[in-house]
Amino acid sequence: MVLEDNYSGPDSGRDLRDPNFAGNSGAARPIERQLANPMDRLAAVVADLILFVPLALLVVAPFSRRAKEAQLLGFEEAWFGAVLSAIFTAAFLFVILQTFFISVFGGTPGKLILKLRVVSAWGGTRPRPMDAFLRAIVWCMEAVLLGMPWLAVFGNQRRRPFHDRISDTLVVCLSPRRQVGTATVPEMSLAQGFQASSLALVTLALVANLIEYRKDHDAVAEAALRAEEEGRLCADVRESMREPSSEKSGGHATPHLKNRLSTALTMFTVGVLSRECLEAESDFAIWQNKEKALAYLGKSVVAGAKGKIDLQRSYLDRVCPPDKVRAESDLCRMAQALVIESELAKLKEAKASRATQTAVSKRQLALRQMMETVGPQNADYLRAKALQQARRQNRHERALALLNSLRGPKKLGAFVSRERAKVLWEDGRKNEAMLAMRSTADLLERGGRAELARWFCFHETFMSGNCNPESKFACEELREAVAGFDGRPLEHLMQRPEIATAYFRAQTCHARQTANQWRSLQGDLKDENAKVFVEALALLEEGAGQKAKDKFNSIVESRLQTGDKDHEPYVLEASSRLAEMARSPAQLTLVLHYWHQLAPGDDNWQLLGQRLVKKLNDLQAWRESVKIGSKLNQFAPQDRVTLQMLAIAARQAGELGSVSRLSIESSPQRGPASLPLEPKERVDGDQP
């Protein structure tokens, strides 16, 4: 039997006096005593590699070239195919060379140099070509396993790895002084143990690598897909477009490309498209030399978003050259609006002075006038810009009209529905807003639905300062959306602190979470800010208001000290809780300091400002209220309620003049003339 290694055939122990024996030295020694030294065999393999590898490299050169080119082009399958072909070709070459040398000369070049010979175990003769061929194939397969099976030269009594056993060969040495004979029992035990553990380790490493490769491969494939979608094709934009086959031929600008660019610009303006996507779309058109003006507009918007103001101006000059201003064209109006916006951004960074303020007001007015006439006859991107302006000015009717005129792909549609619900809420049409929210929820993915519910729940509970029935619906929606996060709501909550803070409000208002429940939740949290925040909520439930305040204060203090903006929603929420709980202006010092430091901030910053104005009026801290109100109004014209409170505070503080000017400049339609000037009665701070 070929695989039986306990050689006990009739030729066992036969002297190598057979003239056919390639390595016959004339010595009358049993074949077992002529076995080659394992180190000689290893050295022979190295010598073979030195000779064969350059040859193999030459043979696989075409595959190697193909693999390099495929790698350069990112063609993974072609690369894999070329590498596989190279490996098989090299293995084939090794098999042919080994077969030839062993069957003709009795050993590979390395073995011949080291005076080793491969002989048949049944007579010490030179192996037959088929045996040599079989031996070479198995040798190559063992090489794939990093040569681990070759360790059998120590572990097998007659020093035969699998390739020797399957072809029934032995490797002997012609030099008697280098012959080692059969392996001893301790040597075999040691080698077998080492071989087994090495094989186990190699297998483990291979499996681990395979898993890692799979993960990497998936990640790379996903990244490639994303790059493909966002960079080359930009799926978000493509979705709404006609198929390329509908393009007009002839090398001229096609409506397809124009639509595509216009949609990308619109989506980016309203904030539902990445910068990279708009850049890719613009680059695509520019380097096709098509729709260049529109593409330059896209590039200018991208440059502006990157904060490269000079580059933005260079692109805008191409969109609408100063000497050929076509003021009525949508492109030029958009370009001019962007120029004004970049000037405003520069002015806001400049040192505050009367002249700066005048320049800001002048530009704001120009921008407003320019956007005022934008209507359905204009391009989508211009309407999106006008919508942005209307939202900033809290002009709800105008915003609704513009929203109704926007058409586009799914993402834009979802934005329009979502924004409509928000505008309706801000306009005080809460029932319509709730209906809009409910109908919008179906259009959104779970994350988007949670985000919308968060907005409503947060605004309702935040602005009213308590848990009114109106907030219940929105907060219930949020709780449902959060619960549906693949059974891992906590993990998702922690990834989105702004949703987490709204969710905590929802729980406080409508789930009557007990202190113990809060503490149990706290145990599952990893984020330090979240832990402190939840601890404060637990303390509130226990009625330890002062301790809760200390906790909220520590969150704000830590933010002020470290400047770490990663947990801003927690800080904002802690600030608002402190504002709700304050009994005197002194208790608001830290929060006011934080609010001023953050200015000008986002939507939530504005909300906190409005909340502070209300609270400061309640506490009759008129001057501070005017200070905050003015800053808010400078950031964006405020709603009627805030303006009313601001006017009251200004009158009480004796600063009505400055507030009137601010209001008139920023919101001519709603000067404070008609506002009531009497203060409300002082009320104690609301409890959430």
Partner: protein
């Protein structure tokens, strides 16, 4: 590992021509080192910018799109990918553009269309790059589209792109140059060195085409010396090599092997490299090495045919070492 030792490194008195060539190489390297490294670092800072490379890649892609038949399929594919938004392809093309004669020669005035704002910025930097290249030692001494006169066909053989490049070329020059000088005479060394250098440059120009990146280094000349040794002594005697199979006593040391082994271990990798590297992507000029080796073979044939006569008798014969394994046996 196997490394030719031959007669080892002889003294300057035993091999004056070889040492003269070595001195020339060192002199050029040391004389231009300051200028070289300064220009190199300036070039690197100019061309290392990703935005610059991307715009250059797009510009090159536009050029390729306009003349697809003038460029390889791979470049065509890269151009297509670049123009449809693939950032990596843009950067690769941007780098390859530096090697392309058509691009480097015409880019300054070529009408690319495309993003004129980005191109304006790129062009001003590109002009700076070209100015730097025109005074870079590698471009002054090497063969490139900027300079490829007769003098560059010789001067490139003495200029190197870095210490390691110089070190290995000089090691081989000393081993093979001094061996040939001691066996055949100094005129064989100088003739083979210069002739192989020119042969290598001609092969490079005709097979790979003169690139925008400079061809420099003594590799082609040294390949000629190696080929000469491999061919002249391929039957007559065995030469000394150092071998290293295992880090165990008895498995490394000196060994005598036939001289064709030199051709096998030195020139086969060049052949593989040549066939496995596309024309547009070769950083190592394999064709120049092969051209140099071809000249060395021609010199060997002339010698064996008696057309060229050796100057000196063989020096004291270096005893070829015995096979260590035979000794052990």
């Amino acid at each position: 590992m196997i490394f030719p030792i031959l007669r080892g490194i002889l003294t300057p008195l035993q091999a004056p021509i070889t040492f003269l060539l070595l001195a020339l190489n060192l002199f050029v390297f040391l004389g231009t080192a300051d200028q070289f490294f300064e220009a190199d670092s300036q070039l690197e800072s100019l061309t290392g910018d990703k935005d610059f490379l991307e715009v250059q890649g797009l510009a090159f892609a536009t050029m390729i799109r306009g003349n697809k038949s003038g460029f390889s399929d791979v470049l065509g594919e890269l151009a297509q990918k670049s123009l449809t938004g693939d950032i990596k392809s843009r950067q690769i093309l941007g780098t390859l553009a530096f090697r392309n004669v058509a691009f480097m020669g015409n880019a300054e005035t070529f009408d690319f269309g495309g993003d004129e704002v980005a191109l304006e910025k790129w062009r001003s930097r590109f002009v700076e790059v070209q100015k730097l290249q025109s005074r870079h030692p590698s471009y002054l001494w090497g063969i490139s589209r900027i300079k490829s006169d007769l003098i560059q066909f010789v001067s490139y053989q003495f200029s190197h792109s870095g210490f390691l490049h110089l070190f290995w070329n000089m090691i081989f020059l000393l081993i093979f140059g001094s061996f040939i000088e001691s066996k055949l005479g100094g005129s064989f060394v100088i003739l083979t060195y210069l002739g192989s250098g020119v042969g290598g440059a001609l092969a490079f120009a005709s097979i790979s085409g003169i690139s925008a990146a400079p061809l420099i280094g003594a590799s082609a000349a040294v390949s000629g010396l190696i080929a000469l040794v491999g061919m002249v002594w391929h039957k007559r005697e065995k030469l000394k090599f150092f071998f290293w199979l295992l880090p165990i006593d008895g498995y490394f040391g000196m060994i005598s092997l036939p001289s064709w082994v030199i051709l096998f271990v030195s020139l086969l990798p060049d052949l593989s490299g040549f066939f496995s590297t596309g024309r547009d992507f070769g950083a190592v000029a394999y064709s120049a090495h092969l051209g140099g080796a071809a000249f060395g073979v021609i010199m060997a044939i002339f010698y064996r045919q008696g057309i060229l006569q050796k100057e000196a008798e063989d020096g004291p014969n270096d005893q070829a070492p015995q096979n260590p394994f035979r000794k052990a046996g």
